[in-house]
Structures are given as C-alpha cells and as structure tokens.
Point group: C2
DNA sequence: GCAATAGTGTCTTTCAGACACTATATC
DNA sequence: GATATAGTGTCTGAAAGACACTATTGC
C-alpha cells in the first residue's frame, strides 16, 4: 500500500560518534572516496533507513559496522532535510550523537576513518558551525552540511551537560572527579573551578564514592566514583 | 537516480500548533475520519514531504492549509520513526512546534478542527505523555503516538522558555509583563512570584518599555512592552 | 623534606523567592 | 473613597566563583 503517490525522499541516519582524547572532544569521521561529488573528504558515518526498520536499528547498524561498538549511549539530535544538502539526491538525514568512553573506540587507521578534534569559534550556547581538526591539527574538509551538524552537536552537549547524565557516558564506569571535570571542561570549552565543581557534582546525589583509589600516579591518588 | 535500492519509508511533518487561551496552553488538533484505522479521533495536523521539497516548505504548507497561518514562528522538535507508529505503513514523522499569539488562529469549528488544552501529569522537565482536553474538558482520544509527541512538546517548551524568545512568539507584538508572566506560568504549569519575574525579565535586556498603557481595564492599566 | 595533586573551609557576589509596601487607574 | 491591579524595596537563603588552606602520595 502506498501512502503517498509522489516520489519520496530517501531517509538516512548520520552519527556523531564522540569520545574524549587528550582532554579534547573528538568525533569519528569516515573517509569519502566520492569527495568530488559530496563536497568533502570526510563525513559523519551514516546509513540509509529501510522500510520497516526503526531509526534506532539503523543507528545500531552503523555503530556496529563503522565502529564495532555495542551498548553505546546514543540520542537523537535533529533532522536535516534540505533538498540540496546531498548533491546526489534528496536525502533527509536524522542525526544522532553517540557517546563513548575513552579507549572504547577501535583505533582509527587515518585512511578509512579518523578521530578529529571538534573545535568551535563561538562561546557558550550561541551556536554556529564547527571545525574538525585531523591528527596533524589541520582542519578537515567535511562533506554535505556536516560542519553545521557538528556545530549543533556541540551546542546540544553544552546545553544538556549540566542537567543530564551525558558526561558519564563519556567516562568509564569508575572515574575520578578530576576526570569528570575534564569532560565538562572539554564540552564547555572553558576551565571550571575545582571546589565549586566538586560541590555541585556531589550535591546532585548522582555520584557514589567507591572507596577505591586510582593507581599508577606519581602523587596522591584520587578516589574513584561511580554513578548512583 | 536512486540512492537506495530498498523500498523507502514515507516522510511526513506533524505540527503542534500552540497558542494560549484563558491562561492555558492549547494545541490545534485535526479530526480523523479514519479513527478506527489510526487509533484515535484527533491528531496533530500534518502532511507528507515530497521529493525535492524542504521540510520547512511542508511545514508552511500545513500551516497555510490547516490554520490559514503565515509568518508564524516554528521550530523542529524531534523525529519519530517507529515502523508501528502508523498502522497504514512506515511513516517517519518530523515533528515541529508552531507558536501563535492569542486570537491569531481562526476559530476551530469543533468538527474538523478543535483547540485542546494541553495537560501533563509530571512536574518540571521530567517528561512523559500529555493529555489533550476538548472544549468540554474531557480527554480526547489521540491517534498514532501523538500523546507521546505532545509530551515532548511540553518538555521542550519548559526547557527552552527561560533562555529563549519562545514566550514572545505566544504574545502579540506589544504586551504587559503580566501577560508575559501568564505565558510562563501556563508553560511551566506553576505560579511564579511577580517581583522576581519582573526583575528577571527586565534584567535580560530583551524587553523595551513602549510608554503606552493597556486600555479597557477597570483598574490601573499596565505598561505595554515589546521585544528589544 | 620536596613536588604535585587531592580535597576542604570560607568569603563574597549573584540571584530568586517571600513579603510588605506604595502607586494609580476606574467606579 | 473603595477596589483591584501595577509596580517597587528589602530581607533571606541557595548556589557559584575566588582563594587560601590542609591532606596524602611517591620520590
């Protein structure tokens, strides 16, 4: 049965797979061999949505195919449907962000995939496009409208990090308060003061001290916490 | 050219056209003659997205067709794509909310369209489904997953009203601070204190006093403000 | 003891709620 | 003058930044 007699646009999901590396927010990008057509060498990994397939199933398929990831926290960001955004045809992209603890991503080879640092020029939650810096710190040439999408990614993260469990999805199950603060600083793009941050986090009641301490450091070890 | 050889889901836009009536947040609903098929008598007005058509064009078409509205503030909410959400087939719905000043909507006739009060059971930004009350204050039977969508609508409004221009889109160009406070109270579902609210609004710098005053009241008239 | 980081106590500023007050319109 | 609402001054308490302090580890 056809609900609409008109020719239909195609639907895809595109994923911003995010992690923290060296204190910086990074995104996994896929190389585009068709760079000349799609307008850039690198793009967010994505895939088409087939009839009868839930959006979440398409997301999980991309996570598994492109990053060998399972049980990752992901959430919908926004939908981009401008007919000109994909030169090959009308593709409506439902974008998601996926959050991974450091080290849970397979090492990108730099050819098919790379891990790019996310940088924005704007303060706070003002909004605007983002840049992606390659391993050599040079800006990468992004395909489609993916600079704008990555800008929205950062804006969403900044808007939600203070009243959601989003930061914990970028950390291992047990973590120090300093590591948690580094996540917040990387997302917000500014330094925070330690006492106020500790109070604020502990007052939420979402944290539980484990009684264990980090090891391997040269100096006083910090206590490990987990989510309550 | 076909980007995907598989059969594709259909894409639609669905609109939560909101306004304020009698101090309550209300949404415009369309009657469904096919209630037995779609699971409810009333639904958000919507329309299919055709190939090559921007999402915003589909939104404007629905606004014009269903509510004779132009130049209305609208923004994207979220995309719902569960294959079972529409019994007729796989329809991916990109939902929008549209905000209208009181009185700018044509009077719904109660048969094809009605203006339903939006009510939620949950406090703050906790989230959950919403109910829609008809003119007789009885809950309406909503089609599809529209109870869940309307819950997200309220959640989004509550999350954004304090740091966006969203409230002004629910007011005429010139308005009293009391009217602005009533908008906030209707969205947040709780009473606010007048002095704190006035200070907070005036301190944002987004308001400008006009020097004019409302008329027709039996008592001291309030000054009219506009957005800066 | 030294270096470096973990973690805390306290002061100050900011801001929202509570509450009481003054001001001004119609009747 | 009565009444009802517009608009303000002030107190209080909560929360965050600044800053200085103590605590604990490896060397």
């Amino acid at each position: 049965m056809s609900l609409s007699p008109h020719p239909r646009p195609t639907v895809a999901v595109d994923l911003a797979i995010l992690t923290l590396a060296d204190g910086h927010l990074c995104v996994l990008l896929a190389n585009r061999p068709d760079a000349a057509v799609v307008g850039g060498d690198w793009a967010l990994p994505g895939g088409f949505v087939h009839q009868g397939q839930p959006l979440t199933a398409a997301v999980e398929r991309v996570l598994n195919d492109k990053a060998r990831l399972r049980d990752v926290h992901f959430e919908q960001l926004a939908t981009f449907g401008d007919p000109g955004r994909d030169p090959r045809g009308h593709v409506i992209s439902v974008t998601y962000l996926a959050l991974c603890p450091p080290g849970s991503l397979p090492q990108p080879d730099g050819r098919d995939t790379c891990l790019a640092r996310l940088v924005v020029d704007w303060p706070g939650e003002k909004g605007g496009p983002a840049r992606a810096l390659g391993p050599d710190r040079q800006p990468l040439h992004l395909a489609f409208d993916h600079r704008a999408i990555l800008g929205e990614v950062v804006r969403r993260l900044r808007g939600k990090i203070n009243y959601s469990d989003l930061a914990f999805a970028l950390l291992p199950p047990r973590f120090t308060l300093r590591a948690l603060q580094e996540v917040h600083e990387a997302v917000l793009g500014r330094r925070l003061t330690k006492p106020a941050f500790r109070r604020r986090m502990l007052d939420t009641g979402r944290l539980r001290a484990t009684g264990d301490y980090e090891t391997g450091g040269a100096f006083r070890p910090a206590e490990l916490y987990k989510t309550a």
